[in-house]
């Protein structure tokens, strides 16, 4: 049943350089798929951070809730997959809006220090994990099927159908949201607030609804990211932590508060991670992306200064 795989078998290539090239493209594909999830999550994080200057440490929880609700809708309510993902994303948005109303809003009203709200969101993150454990148990849950996945192969480079779904869905969502921000009036109001909240308030923009909309959008994107990622990986109550980290790193790579930048940051992060560990021992993966991010942060003002 098991035969040792000969690398060049059936690929019609010679060895050496061409193999490296095939590897390179395969890694790019892997990177884009992983990156699309990072981009989606980072997009959501940056909308909130950019508009409200709110370091939402519960963003990872939104991602996790999206994944778990998809599982619930799929298995307990028997919804079809697209419906489950959509409902999960919307429900996540509603849940986060509720948290915002009850917990974060009061801090904003009282002009509390930025870090106080951040710690509150951290506590919310601490809260969500055991609640999910109580409802769903601590076992690892999966919505993936155990049979062979459908895959598309082109010249030896391979992508599975689920990966295509993730990639396409993420890109569509991000395009939709970018259009919303650029074309609609509300989107413009959001960008104005992100730029200068006091000025926005002065010219009559309802800053509070802008904030609420930002939270809603941020949450729906995080929830969607979690829902989509559950197609590819299994879920457990700790998955929010790394999602938050990736979102932050990608946001920085794209430029703080730069919403479209966050998207590119996400894709860039995905690709860099995969290509990086090709040559460098894999356990340094997180370190590589962070070092690059640090480089960006530190060099950016220097570059600006010397332009």
């Amino acid at each position: 049943m098991y035969e040792p795989l000969k690398l060049n078998q059936g690929l019609g290539f010679g060895g050496g350089k061409i193999v490296e090239l095939y590897m390179f493209f395969q890694l790019i594909i892997n990177g884009l798929v992983a990156g699309s999830i990072y981009a989606l999550t980072a997009f959501g994080f940056t909308i909130v951070y950019g508009t409200m200057r709110f370091f939402n440490l519960a963003h990872g929880s939104a991602y996790m809730i999206g994944a778990y609700l998809t599982y619930a809708f799929l298995t307990k309510l028997g919804l079809g997959l697209p419906a489950a993902i959509a409902c999960a994303s919307v429900s996540t948005m509603l849940i986060m809006l509720a948290f915002d109303r009850v917990l974060f809003q009061p801090f904003r009203d009282r002009h509390a220090h930025g870090w106080v709200v951040a710690i509150c969101s951290f506590a919310v993150g601490l809260l969500v994990e055991p609640i999910l454990s109580l409802i769903f148990g601590t076992d690892i849950l999966s919505i993936r099927q155990a049979e062979t996945p459908i895959r598309y192969v082109f010249k030896g480079i391979m992508i599975t159908r689920n990966q295509v779904v993730v990639l396409v869905a993420s890109i569509i969502l991000m395009i939709l949201l970018s259009l919303f921000l650029k074309r609609t009036r509300f989107g413009k109001a959001m960008r104005a607030t992100a730029n200068d909240p006091e000025m926005a308030d002065a010219i009559g923009i309802n800053v509070n609804s802008v904030f609420r909309m930002s939270m809603a959008l941020g949450a729906v994107l995080a929830g969607a990211a979690g829902a989509l990622v559950s197609l590819e990986i299994d879920m457990d109550p700790m998955m929010g932590h790394s999602a938050l980290l990736k979102a932050i790193v990608a946001s920085i790579l794209g430029g703080i508060g730069n919403i479209s930048g966050a998207m590119f940051g996400g894709f860039f992060l995905g690709i860099v991670e995969n290509i990086g560990i090709w040559k460098i021992p894999s356990n340094w993966k997180d370190g590589i992306s962070l070092a690059i991010m640090m480089g960006f942060i530190v060099l950016k003002p220097w570059v600006k200064h010397h332009r």
Partner: protein, 289 residues
């Protein structure tokens, strides 16, 4: 019973030192830092390695380990000084995760996930601190030392200068003071004291591994400062005491054992949230305008 109380006191003391040191740079000098777990970890690993590999006397080991932690403070402070608030917080976050990654992966030095077991108990002038009560005294001594040093610096002209920097950097540099130098100084002092906490933890647990110094620790320490009240001396101590106390106290509440552990975490987070809602300035913080 007394042993358990002593254990809790030791943990409160270690976290009090951490919170006080973070508060010095954050609450007084206004420098954002979410990487205190990094200084904590570096102090712990430095202390552990020095005592395991070099066997130097404790006082020297403590001084060296803290200096290394302080050096790391310098390394993160210098390039990030000129960044504005948003970037600074994220840069320190990145630094915290980088340090964790290095601790986990630099096997030849830190043994990575295998951790450093068998860290010896502390001995000063052949007085062994291997009993709980003596260790608690040692920890409390360092807490007192930290409070004394930081409080005196805060009340000194240096402290006033740092507070001025927190309020209006530009004005301070306008009167000719080298703002960059003082910000770096505040960071180095802060990380130096965080190193003390690290060394104390390493010798207490006798085993450390990178998992104790994940980035979430930074948020917990920040939480203690915020919760207790930024910009005061008693605040961070109160924050550390409460946030160490609550999870331990919750162990005593009889809950159906199937859900007990999760419910405790829920209760802890809810308590933090509720108290913050009632007092956003922290337990002992100054009221906001």
């Amino acid at each position: 019973m007394a042993n358990f109380i002593l254990h809790v006191i030791i943990m409160m003391g270690i976290y009090a030192i951490l919170s006080l040191s973070l508060n010095f740079m954050l609450g007084y000098a206004g420098i954002i830092s979410i990487c205190h777990s990094a200084f904590f970890g570096i102090g712990a690993y430095a202390g552990a390695l020095i005592s395991l590999k070099l066997g130097l006397p404790f006082v020297i080991e403590m001084f060296l380990a803290c200096s290394i932690a302080g050096l790391c403070g310098l390394i993160i402070a210098a390039p990030t000084l000129r960044l504005d608030e948003d970037y600074m917080s994220l840069a320190t976050y990145a630094f915290g995760v980088i340090v964790y990654t290095v601790l986990s992966n630099w096997h030849s030095l830190t043994r990575g996930p295998l951790g450093l077991p068998g860290i010896p108990r502390i001995e000063i002038f052949s007085l062994a601190f291997d009993q709980l009560w003596s260790y608690a005294c040692l920890v409390l001594f360092f807490v007192a030392l930290t409070i004394a040093c930081l409080a005196s610096w805060i009340r000194s002209p240096l402290g006033k200068l740092l507070m001025a920097i927190r309020e209006d950097q530009v004005a301070v540099s306008a009167i000719g003071k080298n703002v960059a130098f003082f910000k770096i100084l505040a960071t180095v002092i802060s990380s130096f004291f965080a190193g003390i906490a690290g060394v104390l933890l390493a010798h207490y647990l006798t085993f450390i591994d990178p998992s104790t110094f994940v980035i979430q620790e930074s948020f917990i320490i920040l939480g203690m400062v915020v919760f207790g009240g930024m910009g005061t001396i008693a605040g961070p101590v109160a924050g550390a005491i409460t946030m160490v106390f609550i999870p331990e106290a919750l162990r005593f509440i009889g809950l159906p054992s199937f859900y007990a552990a999760h419910l405790r975490q829920v209760m802890f987070s809810l308590l933090i949230i509720m108290i913050l809602l009632k007092r956003p300035q922290g337990l002992l913080g100054k009221k906001l305008e």
